[in-house]
Symmetry: C2
Amino acid sequence: MAGVAGSPALAEQGNNLPPNVPEWMKAPGDPMGSQPYGTPSVHEKGVVKNISKTLPQYISASGRTPLQELDGIITPNGLFYERHHGGVPTIDPAEHRLMLHGMVDRPLVFTMEDIRRFPSQSRIHFLECSGNPVYTKPYGKTASDLVGLLSCAEWTGVPLKTVLDEAGLQPGAKWIVAEGADAAALTRSIPIEKCLDDAMLVYSQNGERLRPQQGYPLRLLLPGFEGNMNVKWLRRLKVTAEPAYSREETSKYTDPMPDGTSREFTFYMEAKSIITRPSGGQKLTTHGFHEITGIAWSGHGKIKSVEISFDEGKSWQQAELQEPVLTRALTRFRLPWHWDGTPAVIQSRAIDETGYTQPTLAELVKVRGLNSFYHNNAIWPWRIDANGEVTNAQA
Amino acid sequence: MAGVAGSPALAEQGNNLPPNVPEWMKAPGDPMGSQPYGTPSVHEKGVVKNISKTLPQYISASGRTPLQELDGIITPNGLFYERHHGGVPTIDPAEHRLMLHGMVDRPLVFTMEDIRRFPSQSRIHFLECSGNPVYTKPYGKTASDLVGLLSCAEWTGVPLKTVLDEAGLQPGAKWIVAEGADAAALTRSIPIEKCLDDAMLVYSQNGERLRPQQGYPLRLLLPGFEGNMNVKWLRRLKVTAEPAYSREETSKYTDPMPDGTSREFTFYMEAKSIITRPSGGQKLTTHGFHEITGIAWSGHGKIKSVEISFDEGKSWQQAELQEPVLTRALTRFRLPWHWDGTPAVIQSRAIDETGYTQPTLAELVKVRGLNSFYHNNAIWPWRIDANGEVTNAQA
């Protein structure tokens, strides 16, 4: 740990430094209730969602979580990533309804009070946009620029299966078409197997009600499935025999393959990881001990292990995983490192409980060609130069 | 589940109801970036910290978490409870220092950057004020009025042991006196055993940096110990052979016993639970199915089980515990109930992994007498009348 300890010499600098009594101890601070709903310190006002200043338009756009500023696995609600296709609607929960119809014995319409009266569950799961990051042109300087369309929260709601049992599924029911109450009426088709497994109707996020950007007052949660399928502002569930082939299933969220076919209904987010500290835009200010830390996740279940390479991928070391390791949730990993000041390329790869290993970008391109866009789960290397500057090694 | 399903008759009421297209789908919603740091829906603006409007003064005061409005186990940072003795200081992290001195081989002064360079850990733990609730006068209408000086978050920081190893403890070191950088210079003595066990120096809370009310930029975290010992705005750690017998260890946070002695250094928060839904101030609007849910916690480790009584404590049923059940963290419990409309008294009791069972208030009074104040972990019953109104059964 040499080099980590602070220097007593600091005690000679400035009025607020030991052994002096700092100015903020000399008078009472802010009184109780100055913030009935609290906000971060004024010294953290730069830590906000990462939103491009030059978007073609802001109605269908995305705002990224500043992953490189965060610790642990829980994303605070104020920094949870957003992606919407018709802006964020302001919905009166007293007037919001969920309609359940189609191939059911009893079509039903639920108020929010009805939904809250069902038996509830709470689960910690990640959510990730399928275009996180873009594929063959790895733009971006920071971890947030690259994979900031990713967040994790404790969700509370009702297992979808419980609500479907109330309506009674009819023979031949194979899909459920979910529709959002936004101006885009975002519509996705969900296979019935997922609806009867761990799908939830969610109304709370990290204890409090959903934020408007996350679907207030009600959203669909499909743990491990691409973000846009977790339909926000959920107003309608239609049970069908066939998928809807909606706009988001044809012109969007599909990928052309080298053989001329297209991948569609690419539900699962594959195993993935990123080093968040040190990461692009940061700087190692001293040689010696540094902790390498980051996050790993898989739509297929728990993370089994994370490996880190300091030599451009020639050799790999096992990182420590922070307990609890939860299924379809972010997992924090850490590895101690001694940096001697020589330039290095550092990168992490995730292995999930199915045995699947996060691939390199070259391995993805070999299979998918160059015209793919979504579901880029490639390993992301960072370059550290002799000055300690950290940059995107693939930009 | 009879009676839970919504009625299709709702479809005839109002322009925003099915089969109509609601107004919020007819025009684009708020554009991206209207909230770089997000806030709750305008329809949730009543969900704020519970702060008395008639405090004698607001510099040494408390604000409670609205537990009856929350789900799951994570408390959002904006609603985390506050208790401070000299107001909330505004500290510049660039000028903040932690001084470690006393019975150590190498006295040290750390900057926040120094602290962040140590190997980190993330843990989900509750924090609770020792005066939660007051003892023999069970005031309060809601769960928040009674035990709202309680919250739970994912904390990230450095094991205190790691930092102490850096300084080197000297023989005879038995206590560490921690001092806050607030106007009260809040000071508490921590037994060395706890400092070398799971104590942490914490800088992040639910992913982002600590809120000012929770000790920004640095606080002590002593999982399971009474809240005031988890010193906020931490500036000084002095290793000693004896405790400081500070104001908070003599005139406050001690309890007179019937035999004329006083309980002091009452570190641990004992096993406790509360039903949050239905709870005081709420109303059961229909007979039939209702989910009973609440939270349980223990400073001594994991919750082993939670039992619920519907008959004034004559009989008890086992509630279901939401996984993951974590040590010294809130645990969410649930039990389905059919309410037939007859008046009832409902209450929960927690049993922790040591086998300890949460007592009744009468059992506490028998041991502690009537002049005690802190560490009231009594069972809290709610009365449900024939109209479904829920009230404090001990008020």
